[in-house]
């Protein structure tokens, strides 16, 4: 309750029944000008901070999870591309080893011919002690 120097001018109903404030408090107007709202501001701010912190703690893993999911997708995509490339190379290798192609290259490009039967010798290894 505000106490002013004009207390003696107030109607009797408004005169406080409790004893007057000590002198040092009278000298410090701030004590008399502070409202009940300001007393709760700090706790309110603290509660708000806690709420934000809680929301942050709750949301952060989910946001991280989505980010990791995107990275995982990208990694999977990269793996898929590499597997695809490997399979294409495997396919190319198999095609290069096609007997029809090998024969064509050997006969047409390298000038090779099939040996006659009398040009083929069978080598027989003898296990003899020297």
């Amino acid at each position: 309750m505000l106490r002013t120097s004009h207390a003696h001018q107030l109607p009797p109903s408004m005169i406080l029944s409790h004893p007057p404030l000590p002198q040092h408090q009278l000298k410090d107007p701030q004590v008399f000008t502070s409202t009940p709202r300001r007393r709760y501001l700090g706790p309110l701010l603290f509660c708000a901070f806690l709420c934000f912190l809680g929301v942050g703690v709750y949301m952060w893993p989910r946001v991280q999870g989505v980010r990791l999911a995107y990275r995982l997708q990208a990694a999977e995509r990269r793996m898929s591309d590499l597997i695809q490339e490997r399979d294409h190379l495997r396919l190319e290798l198999a095609a290069l080893k096609d007997p029809q192609r090998v024969f064509r290259v050997a006969a047409e490009e390298l000038g090779m011919v099939t040996p006659k039967p009398d040009q083929v010798f069978v080598l027989v290894r003898e296990s003899k002690q020297r």
């Binding site: 995107y70 995982l72 198999a94 099939t114 039967p117 040009q119 080598l123 296990s127």
Partner: protein
């Protein structure tokens, strides 16, 4: 007053909000939650990649590779003529088809499936809204037409449609799995669930009995011979007589499963298994086995050839020559119809039918290939007066080429009919999960009889109608066949149209392979089995022996004294391959390396190709010059 009105207004708004929240969060919670799930979750059915088909040496014959497919979301892509024209050019499709699809109500429409990597990269680079790429698996056959009829093909959705792809579709197909994917607000998939990142199970791999090298040789020689004699078609089969494994199964027609739509469906089928023909004189080998097994004949028994013809019922059955007295051995060597008919008469209807049935003629072999024909062998109750004679010379019945070569394999392996098969093993992730073991169906004749028949068939090749089938260095047992074809237009057997065959096995003493060659309607003088089919047998058999590393029976050998290694010493002018002699490796290391380097082409032994004589002389001169320099 105004304050109360304002407060009242806001209170009403708050109450309305609360009611609405109650309605959404409590009353319609389940309904809205499922709607939301449908929006941010997508259930996709994914299938593991189709298994690979290998030949017996683990060379890929058919495999699946990932390819991107282009889809369109009509609601997102605007009708931009320039973009559509670019897209049509990249994908090589009509602009009109893209415009047509833009009018669709659906959110997902295929534009082009399984595009090339270049097309995929170009579409991705465009960055058009409403155009997306989805990875799918596509089947490739890297050896193109090699064994195309055997392998068959898989369609766009990787379902097997022909051949082994169809017969083993369930084994090859990867498992299907429904995967839940989460999507963000832009529709991009984000994987939050551990289940969806699990690897999808692939299909099983098949290892065939086919050897791609032998397949190549069989196809090449068959096609060359068919072209040479003007045949309409042909089949060549190489089989391991001891196991029933089919090493090669060739058709003369070319079929590339990568482009199956460009070929007529009648080209797709594997004629060696699905088509039947009258085997003709080749069946005299089975007749001989039956007669010997029943001890009705001996190789030196005499039969009169009736000077080229014999009356049976009301029909005059001819020989291709006028024969007098022949031994039973000569009946086979000269392929006398009269002699065969007389042997058949000794056997009688019942026994002849029984032996033909025991050898598997006229019934399915049970090969693991779809669409096998059974052939036709009527029971004796349905035979006419002519049937015994006709059947004795291999007419009036229909067999598949596979049945015939399987029957000959029984003679080759000592008298046991084996079940032919094309698949050797089923594998999963490099491990064999199922191995196909050789299966003996039944014993058809004794070992002694089989040996006797083999000796007689050797005479066919050494002295008889099968001389063109002789392979230098190897003993060959075989039989020619020239069967007249039934001409529906004239209602009887044609004198012009024949099926020329040769079936044999080598080396006769310990057969490694049995080979069948059959040519449909060879022209002119080449209409005979001994002229049309036997040379193809000879060529295929010679290559096969070399590729399988079967040493010749009368081999020319050089002996190596161990430890040492054979080296190329030098060659006579004009020789394509220098003489080989022993060389001491330790004493002449430098010469060894020099000679190896100059003779590098000889080391390419995959197909036993040799160096060109001119090139050999040039490289030899170079080597000699290098040797002489200090």
């Amino acid at each position: 007053m105004r304050l109360y009105l304002l407060a009242g207004f806001f209170s009403l708004m708050l109450m309305a909000l609360a009611v609405r929240l109650f309605d959404i969060q409590i009353l319609r919670h389940h309904q809205l939650a499922s709607l939301a799930e449908r929006q941010h979750q997508k259930v996709v059915e994914l299938r593991g990649k189709r298994g690979t088909i290998y030949d017996r040496r683990m060379r890929e014959l058919g495999l699946s590779v990932d390819r991107d497919s282009v889809y369109l979301n009509p609601s997102e892509l605007t009708n931009n003529p320039e973009a559509i024209a670019t897209l049509a050019r990249i994908l090589h499709i009509d602009e009109a088809s893209i415009v047509d699809k833009l009018g669709s109500d659906r959110q997902f429409v295929w534009l082009k499936r399984k595009v090339t990597p270049q097309e995929s990269a170009a579409v991705r680079a465009l960055g058009l809204k409403g155009i997306g790429l989805l990875t799918e698996s596509r089947r490739f056959y890297p050896k193109q037409s090699l064994a195309g009829h055997v392998i068959g093909f898989a369609g766009t959705d990787e379902g097997g449609l022909e051949g082994l792809e169809h017969g083993y579709d369930r084994v090859l197909a990867g498992e299907a799995e429904r995967v839940v994917l989460d999507r963000d607000a832009h529709g991009r998939p984000i994987t939050l669930r551990s289940e969806s990142v699990r690897e999808l199970p692939r299909g099983h791999d098949l290892v065939l009995t086919i050897d791609e090298r032998l397949q190549f040789i069989a196809e090449r020689e068959l096609r060359a011979q068919a072209a040479k004699v003007g045949a309409r078609g042909g089949v060549a089969i190489i089989m391991d007589p001891s196991t029933g494994e089919i090493l090669a199964l060739a058709n003369d027609s070319i079929f590339d499963p990568n482009r199956f739509r460009e070929f007529s469906p009648r080209i797709w089928r594997e004629r060696g298994i699905t088509d039947t023909f009258e085997p003709g004189s080749t069946l005299k080998a089975i007749l001989a086995a039956a007669a010997l097994e029943e001890r009705l004949v001996r190789p030196d028994d005499m039969f009169y050839g009736e000077q080229g013809g014999i009356q049976v019922a009301t029909t005059w059955m001819r020989d291709h020559e006028k024969f007098g007295w022949l031994t039973f051995r000569e009946v086979l060597e000269k392929s006398s119809n009269v002699g065969a008919i007389k042997v058949g008469q000794r056997l009688g209807k019942e026994r002849l039918h029984e032996y033909f049935s025991r050898f598997g003629l006229g019934s399915r072999t049970g090969v693991d290939f779809p669409g096998e024909a059974a052939g036709l062998l009527r029971p004796p109750s349905q035979w006419s007066e002519l049937s015994l004679a006709s059947l004795s010379i291999g007419q009036e019945l229909a067999v598949t080429p596979l049945q015939l070569v399987t029957a000959f394999s029984a003679l080759a392996n000592g008298g046991v009919l084996m079940r032919p098969h094309l698949v050797r093993a089923v594998m999963k992730e490099g491990e064999v999960v199922q191995e196909v073991r050789p299966a003996a169906v039944r014993r058809v004749v004794s070992e002694a009889t089989a040996r006797q028949v083999t000796a007689l068939l050797q005479g066919v090749v050494e002295r008889g109608t099968g001389k063109a089938a002789a392979v230098e260095g190897y003993s060959v047992a075989g039989k020619t066949g020239t069967a007249q074809k039934y001409d529906a237009a004239i209602g009887k057997y044609s004198s012009q149209k024949t099926i020329a065959s040769f079936v044999g096995y080598l080396p006769a003493r310990q057969p490694q392979v049995a080979i069948l060659i059959s040519l449909d309607e060879p022209q002119g003088e080449a209409a005979w089995g001994g002229i049309a089919a036997a040379p193809a047998f000879q060529a295929i058999a010679a290559h096969t022996m070399r590729l399988l590393r079967v040493p010749p029976e009368n081999q020319r050998t050089r002996t190596l004294e161990s430890p040492s290694i054979a080296m190329i010493e030098g060659h006579r002018p004009g020789d394509a391959l220098p003489m080989i002699s022993t060389w001491n490796f330790v004493e002449n290391m430098r010469d060894l390396m020099l000679q190896t380097a100059t003779q590098l082409s000889v080391s390419i032994h995959e197909y036993f190709f040799n160096i060109d004589p001119q090139a050999a002389r040039k490289s030899r001169k170079k080597a000699d010059k290098a040797n002489k320099s200090p």
